[in-house]
């Protein structure tokens, strides 16, 4: 049968895998500690893919499946953009595009005490950090970094928020700076906050800069680096005359 032909490739790293593909064999990887990222599961000695995407490897020991979706699965230490949907007692319920609504304790802000809990109206956009993602529980968020400082976290005022796929938001956060942001940054000044959950917030002094930046980012999803630069140049040329 033709299945025989495709079986037993030596390595699947950097290849597109589909659910069910066995990507790693632990029986010949003894004395190693490996870290499995999203989209992989262990079945005794075999590690197989759960999602379709590029099977990636990063030295020394990280493996994951790179894919892009419209839905976000919370992971600890991810930075996300959340929208307040409700508040009860001292807690806020925040939508982060995950399967469950996330809990943000009112005390999880720098300098917050029982008497001075920040007040956020329903609909407020917040830049937050995921701190707990236990199975069977709502994920928990925090408005401070690990050392309890506010640093970059907190409410985002004004500006414009739009939704993208998780793949695009990861691309925007990658280092070195992704070409579309680099090209835009040369001509325009703007503020940007990208959440790993596929939400992007942009703010600038002029509304038209905001619109240009937002459109350029949304158009860049399927373009290569060179194409992104050309697209941004064309956009910027249009507004300069």
């Amino acid at each position: 049968m033709s299945s025989k032909v495709s079986v037993s490739p030596t390595s699947l790293i950097d290849q597109i895998v589909v659910p069910g593909d066995v990507v790693l064999d632990l029986s010949n990887m003894t004395n190693q500690t490996i870290k499995l990222g999203s989209g992989l599961r262990q079945d005794s000695d075999a590690i197989s893919a759960m999602r379709a995407g590029k099977f990636s490897y990063s030295k020394p020991n990280k493996y994951w499946v790179e894919s892009s979706h419209k839905r976000y699965i919370p992971r600890t230490e991810d930075h996300v953009l959340g929208i307040v949907v409700d508040y009860k007692a001292d807690n806020f319920w925040v939508d982060i595009k995950g399967p469950q609504i996330a809990l943000l304790p009112g005390l999880a802000f720098e300098g917050a005490t029982r008497r001075s809990i920040p007040k956020f109206e329903v609909g407020t956009l917040l830049y937050l950090r995921v701190v707990k993602t236990n199975i069977g529980m709502n994920p928990e968020l925090s408005g401070t970094d690990a050392s309890g400082k506010a640093s970059v976290f907190g409410p985002l005022k004004d500006g414009f928020m739009f939704e993208t796929s998780t793949g695009l938001s990861r691309m925007l956060l990658s280092s070195p700076t992704c070409p579309v942001l680099e090209a835009l940054g040369k001509k325009l000044s703007f503020e940007i906050a990208t959440g790993l959950n596929g939400r992007v917030w942009v703010n600038a002094a002029a509304p038209r800069s905001v619109i240009i930046v937002a459109n350029a980012i949304m158009n860049s999803e399927t373009l290569s680096a060179a194409q992104q630069r050309i697209m941004v140049e064309k956009l910027l040329a249009k507004i300069s005359d």
């Binding site: 659910p19 790693l24 599961r41 379709a52 699965i73 069977g136 793949g167």
Partner: protein, 238 residues
Amino acid sequence: MEIDREDGRTPNQLRPLACSRNILHRPHGSASWSQGDTKVLAAVYGPKPGTRKNENPEKACFEVIWKPKSGQIGKAEKEFEMILKKTIQSICVLTVNPNTTTSVIIQVVHDDGSLLPCAINAACAALVDAGIPMKHLAVAICCCLADSGYVVLDPNKLEEKKMTAFAYLVFPNTTLSVLPEVEGEPVEHGIITSVTHGVMSVDDYFLCVENGRAATASLSAFFRKNFQQSQGASSKAG
């Protein structure tokens, strides 16, 4: 001995396949799948919080909504919904997102035979598009048994009517593996779902399974190629 088919296909020849994913804006995953003139649109929403009544909240729950081309849904469509739900439940990893519900909506665009296998393939493509964790893919095929004892694959509506019996078979896809080859039957020789209509002998049934299984290799290859193309396009940007 040859059997004549209306459209000049050989008995084991499938109709041309086409699949496009991420075609709808609002759902979290969507796919259209066509086999010849049969075309089905599948949309996946979720995972959403909470499970419905009478479902196990410790597992992920699935609901399937079948939208016929026209008219109300009847008993046949209800049966399709149930078969599809059971199939999806067996190919997905249910423990990753407990206490969530994922909705799969199947819209029939055109029915020209082999409707349920087409819908299963479409649902599977849409689930992958939505990023729902899955154990493996499922490939579905319709096998028909002609009066003269021949097995015909992927029948259209006319052929379906003339046949004495037919079987909808769902198999696991052919997977790549880095494991050394093990003795015994490979995974893709399993069977996920089998639905038969009409009367057929045991030998005929096994003939159907054998022929159907042989055809799934090409379906699996089509699935894989489809994902590689779309992923290749998006990974260029990264």
